[in-house]
Assembly symmetry: C2
């Protein structure tokens, strides 16, 4: 993966940097197929036909390429598409590369483009992604007893992790006070509860050959694009269903997970996701965070990369970067933030939890 | 599929019309998965997160959905993604639905959005899709001897077919004189050599169960997004490679094809594609067209639906509508334009022949 953050390179150049590193690591010069993930390169950068564009840019213009999109979880959907092509025997090896370039645009324009992922009717009343996340957070505080300190501790932890990750957008720690006193973005969410707008790209190579890490399970879960139709605001059915499907395919339960990368686009989402994936029992995510259980060095390290909050969130690059981090962790290549792990779990949220994914990877050692 | 043309319905409504018809035909209420094809719904309609949006709109909000995009061949790429998921055993049944809504926008804006599929450098010199197609047509006339009459005869034939297809955008015949005297769009291409801007959607259901028609082979081929890098302007390597892959998977050769749907976004492309797929020998496509070989009733009917020229071209709906037409032909459901066929071939072009697909379907009877 590239370093995430404010990058001057074009998105094709960022994707090429990540793809080249992945292909070199896999000792593959020419994959059988390419799956490209980009959420909205047309509006962010003016370019479309991204499968072909990236294949040509990589010098692989004759390698079959498609683009896959599921809003902010597009990267994980692309991994799924590559996984399916290999599992079906259609390809022996697939390069999956995803990313986004956004920081060159004004923030309101970025918000407008990201806002296309929201139900049109809810958007017509002024909903934005942070506004809906604020609504969910408020409900979680009232109905599940989440506290501002618990929520803020997620951001403190993930910034501490990001400070140890040379690929992270933010590599500086923040204090609990700084988080809790940062300005309101969407009450009760504050600036330091929200992931940044990041540029960057990440890539993995999937192969039918035995490699150092295998995909043990991959599951997708859905919910109504309209938040108002949901039976429960304070947990994400899409994550729960994705996790069940992934555990089933992998043949392991939550108790076997050693490390997790969760989609903390907003800090309370890490707490919700911890429980939706079954990694901690219902109602215990806040306590586990305050106790340091989810920090590097704790019982179940979560977001050792820094998560979306500190590593950054270049949309379609994010799900792939979660898998990159887990591969590094499982292979002992995460110097400075290394955890002990044989099995890792990544969870990616598409839109306002409309199209979520859980992927379980396992060391082959 | 919906009728193609200028439609007042929204794209989700068009997709729902097509999807509902396909699910009813397949006697499936709830597929295991959904693959949505739309080339650029964000800019055409303002909506994104299209997998989730369509799943919710279909009342299937808990069915896993992804979106797939390869420019103008997105529909066929979506069929491939669904095929891979079924072939890998990940799903037993997949609904594939694609379409586009464009006619509500001014033509220059539509051209701008479609133009994002062109190499950025070539676009910076003013290239548009019709301009590049005109360049290729000029080269094909000079180097391969294609004549204006041969090219125009493709449009005449396809309009005659469209006149028999109640789903076609244009259901009126045109004369050779009318085609040859229509106004220049991109010299030597004239208006009646170019497909229209259409709204519409199409859907198919893929199943692991035996159905009336099976996908015998599906192949993808690529070429550089930059036309200037290609060794040959007058044939499409992307089609040739896609055809070879599809024939290989199907275990049949071109001589076994009874009917074909080809991507005549510009009429000369049907002639080029006839030869690229091996359906007629090199240099013989023009003659075959003049002789009526490719008309309904001829030796090898091509585009009995009317093709992109007359059925219309709602971008991501087109590849799927080709398969719908072939299914109807193979099942004897194409009243008014029915041909005798057991094996059909569809060819779809993505961008300026950067990301092409050939799919071979066969009757199970």
């Amino acid at each position: 993966m590239t370093r995430f953050g404010k990058r001057d390179e074009s998105l094709p150049d960022l994707m090429a940097e990540a793809a080249t590193a992945a292909l070199e690591d896999a000792l593959i010069e020419r994959p059988d197929g390419i799956v490209v993930a980009a959420m909205n390169p047309e509006e962010f950068t003016g370019e479309g036909n991204y499968g072909s564009l990236i294949a040509t840019h990589l010098g692989l213009s004759h390698v079959p390429a498609i683009r896959v999109e599921t809003a902010t979880s597009s990267g994980m959907a692309a991994i799924y598409a590559g996984f399916a092509a290999v599992a079906a025997g259609l390809h022996r090896s697939v390069l999956v590369v995803g990313g986004e370039k956004m920081t060159h645009l004004a923030t309101p324009r970025v918000s407008e483009i990201i806002g296309r992922s929201i139900d049109p009717h809810e958007r017509s009343y002024g909903s934005t992604m942070p506004a809906l996340a604020g609504l969910i957070t408020r409900a979680a505080m009232q109905r599940r007893g989440l506290t501002p300190k618990e929520i803020s501790s997620v951001a403190v932890k993930n910034h501490a992790h990001g400070a140890r990750n040379p690929y992270a957008h933010f590599q500086t720690p923040v204090t609990l006070d700084a988080v809790m006193e940062s300005r309101l973005v969407a009450d009760p969410l504050r600036l330091y509860h929200c992931c940044p707008i990041s540029d960057g790209a990440a890539a993995v190579v999937l192969s039918a050959e035995r490699g150092p890490v295998r995909i043990a399970g991959i599951g997708q879960g859905m919910d109504t694009i309209a938040v108002r139709y949901r039976s429960d605001l304070t947990s994400f059915r899409a994550t729960q269903e994705a996790a069940q499907a992934a555990y089933r395919m992998a043949g392991v339960g939550a108790e076997r997970i050693d490390v997790a990368e969760l989609h903390d686009a907003f800090s309370p989402f890490e707490l919700i996701s911890l429980e939706d994936t079954g990694l901690v029992p219902p109602g215990k995510a806040g306590r586990a965070t305050l106790d340091g259980d989810t920090a590097v060095g704790g019982r179940l390290p979560v977001n050792p990369s820094g998560g979306l909050k500190a590593r950054g969130h270049p949309l379609a690059g994010t799900g792939i970067s979660q898998i990159v981090e887990l591969c590094w962790q499982l292979r002992g290549m995460a110097a400075g933030r290394q955890v002990e792990a044989r099995i890792g779990l990544a969870q990616s949220i598409g839109g306002l939890a409309t199209n979520n994914w859980v992927t379980i990877v396992e060391t082959s050692r």
